[in-house]
């Protein structure tokens, strides 16, 4: 669901939002240092393991049809049901059908990006089903009727006093500002939900092709409860989230939790293979919904590499743009550097041409990515696509030919530089210009422009040479 505001309006909103800034500072700062510490425990800072993780993802995607078929067959051999959904709507429809066929009325849910991508909750509620989010941060956000401010810590923009007040109002908890008491209250309330829900819906961190296993990674235990207590477990999975073998899974798991939260392993790494057998407990039915929704098409493009992503969130935390504007400004489910590529890739550059420009191409994302995805390369690729689709703004289309002229004609260049020096020094406030008249406003709409130095480099160079005999001594 796209916001009614333009990208620039959403960015302006984000920049004005003090609460959001507090949350982003807390979250991104914390996660970047946790990640750094976790990788420092490797002798080579994790280079070798990340290289291998990248190779595993690349190899898997290069044979995705084979591995996906192997995975689906293995899930079925273990007693699970596999459903193939080409679109988001098809995925939601399948879930509703399964729910109806099994007299499901209440659903408990673990955190899953792909279910947000398909807007599953909304579809389920429209079909008359109750859906409760069980991840604590997501539960808080759901009670508040808000959207998450950060992918891993969705409620981090709220103070503990605010959360205490919210839980007091919504679930009758005695008023407190102690996180342990709040967690205990949420635990008690959600326990009822887990133990009485008809269906549990989860995402999938990795599917393992050789055994038909679903790997689900979490810290709170809500993932385990969601996939154990209700009689039906439904797992929704993007078709690209596969690894060939358990050994490959062990490699991916070495980099996932370290990249996301700085842990060596999450508290619970669940490996689910089929529904319950002659077991004491567990779900009687397992349904895996494989979601394409544009992934097979992206696979055929120059930006197929974005499908290597394992959804750790490290690129978000490292990105100077994300650190300033947060998730909402991106306008879609996938935010930060990965979102700036994935959203236009999945939904078309026509609607999303601004996202690839929301970057200084600093490469911090590529530095921290556990599978070394070259996001800057793909941002440039998408900027080019956007240009070919006629999305380049007028001021840039006009301005670039002028710049080309100046750059190839020295006297024009020097005249232009002299004019710019004079003008910017007159107009700048504290060394920066934040608003220029059109058409230059195209630049200052999203970037500040620095005032030029009083003397050009060549003038300074000449001066020093004349004074000191060489330009290089101070």
């Amino acid at each position: 669901m796209q916001s009614n505001l333009t990208f620039h309006e959403r960015v302006e909103d984000a920049l004005q939002n003090q609460t959001l800034h507090l949350a982003l500072d807390r979250a991104t700062g914390r996660f970047t240092s946790l990640r750094a510490n976790a990788f420092a425990s490797f002798a080579d800072n994790g280079d070798a393991i990340r290289d291998r993780a990248r190779m595993i993802r690349a190899h898997t995607l290069s044979r995705l049809d084979t591995y996906l078929a192997q995975f689906a067959d293995a899930v079925e051999a273990a007693g699970g049901h596999v459903h193939w959904a080409s679109t988001a709507e098809a995925a939601n429809t399948v879930v509703i059908q399964i729910a109806k066929q099994n007299n499901v009325r209440s659903i408990v849910k673990g955190k899953s990006m792909v279910t947000e991508e398909t807007h599953l909750n909304h579809a389920l509620e429209s079909a008359g089903l109750t859906v409760i989010e069980s991840d604590l941060g997501e539960y808080i956000i759901q009670l508040a009727g808000e959207t998450p401010s950060h992918i891993i810590a969705p409620a981090i923009h709220k103070t503990k006093e605010q959360i205490g007040q919210l839980l007091h109002e919504k679930i009758g908890m005695p008023l407190t500002d102690e996180p342990s008491k709040m967690t205990a209250a949420a635990r008690a309330k959600l326990r009822d939900v887990f133990l009485n829900a008809d269906m549990g819906i989860s995402g999938v961190n990795f599917g393992v092709a050789e055994t038909g296993t679903i790997c689900l990674v979490e810290n709170e235990g809500n993932g385990r409860l969601t996939t154990t207590a209700p009689r039906i477990h439904l797992a929704m999975m993007g078709i690209e989230r596969l690894v060939p073998t358990l050994h490959d899974l062990s490699v991916m798991l070495q980099v996932l939790a370290r990249s996301a939260t700085g842990q060596k392993l999450s508290v619970y790494t669940n490996l689910i293979t089929g529904p319950r057998r002659a077991d004491a407990d567990g779900p009687d039915q397992l349904h895996v919904v494989l979601v394409d929704n544009g992934r097979s098409r992206v696979l055929g493009t120059e930006v197929a590499e974005i499908l290597y992503c394992i959804r750790c969130g490290a690129c978000l935390n490292a990105c100077p743009v994300y650190q300033q504007i947060g998730g909402h400004a991106y306008g879609g489910v996938y935010t930060g550097p990965v979102g700036a590529v994935l959203t236009p890739a999945l939904y078309g550059i026509d609607l999303w041409s601004e996202l690839p420009h929301a970057s200084s191409l600093c490469g911090a994302c590529r530095e921290v990515c556990p599978v070394r995805i070259d996001i800057p390369r793909m941002l440039l690729q998408l900027r080019d696509e956007g240009h070919r689709a006629g999305k380049t703004p007028g001021w840039l289309k006009l301005g670039l030919p002028f710049y080309r002229l100046a750059a190839t004609t020295p006297w024009v260049f020097h005249l232009g530089a002299w004019l710019a020096r004079t003008a910017t020094r007159l107009l700048a406030a504290q060394g920066w210009l934040t608003k220029l008249p059109p058409p230059l406003s195209g630049w200052t709409a999203s970037r500040d422009f620095p005032a030029f130095a009083p003397r050009s480099f060549s003038a300074q160079f000449k001066r020093r040479k004349n004074h000191k005999g060489t330009a290089f001594t101070k």
Binding site: S62, K160, V208, T228, H247, A280, D281, S296
Partner: protein, 226 residues
């Protein structure tokens, strides 16, 4: 199966025009495994890593002492209800008999299929205050307990009660997850659920204050059984 074929065909089609950096026809050989650490070193590493994560690690000298350790943990809180695995699945012979002798009568963990009976049973199991399980293995590099299901191995025993006591044989320690998978290649395929547990359940969702005991257990005891 219309969508299966259409999705697989779309993938095949895309693979003719794809650009996948670093993609190779086969994966490079797996790195040589770490030279075998002796069981003492593995136990020390496991104990250190697990303790750092908040697991209470016990290293009794004998099996008899291990039984005493378990009973001591139970007597600390005198639970009204407990959940356990059957004796065949625990590394301590006859542990359930010892528990019954101390008036700890384990609940029947079997959850019925009928929906109404299921909910009733789940509510009953939720009253358990301590869960005693075995562990298929322990991982020395991360302090992880490897817990799998089978007909008599209740998943909920290590999940619902606020206290989880895991009994792990010292002979079942592995240096890494990869080493464990290499030693037990069918363990995942043969169980509907296998979980790696590294400590009590936790969250930092409220102002990053680490809170322990969220939906899973609040206290995890790891007893290394000789």
């Amino acid at each position: 199966m219309a969508d299966r074929d259409s999705i697989l065909n779309a993938i095949r089609q895309s693979l003719t025009t794809t650009h996948l950096p670093e993609a190779q026809a086969t994966l490079p050989p797996r790195p040589a495994s770490v030279p075998g650490l002796d069981s003492g070193a593995l136990a020390d590493s496991f104990a250190r890593e697990a303790s750092a994560l908040g697991v209470v690690v016990h290293r009794p000298q004998t099996q008899a002492q291990a039984v005493e350790t378990v009973l001591k943990i139970l007597h600390e809180s005198e639970p009204d209800e407990v959940l356990t695995w059957s004796d065949d699945d625990l590394p301590l012979p006859h542990l359930n008999d010892f528990l019954r002798a101390e008036n700890f009568d384990p609940l029947d963990p079997l959850v019925p299929v009928d929906p109404i009976a299921r909910q009733k049973k789940l509510a009953e199991l939720a009253r358990a205050e301590i869960g005693v399980t075995g562990a298929l293995a322990g991982l020395a590099d991360t302090g992880a307990l490897v817990v799998n299901t089978s007909p008599a191995r209740s998943r909920l025993a290590s999940l619902l009660p606020p206290v989880h006591v895991a009994l792990l044989s010292v002979r079942s320690l592995y240096p890494t997850m990869a080493a464990f998978f290499a030693a037990h290649p069918d363990s995942v395929r043969e169980a509907s659920n296998l979980v790696f547990i590294t400590g009590p359940s936790s969250t930092g969702d409220i102002e990053f204050t680490l809170t322990v005991g969220v939906h899973g257990p609040k206290t995890v005891h790891g007893v290394l059984v000789p």
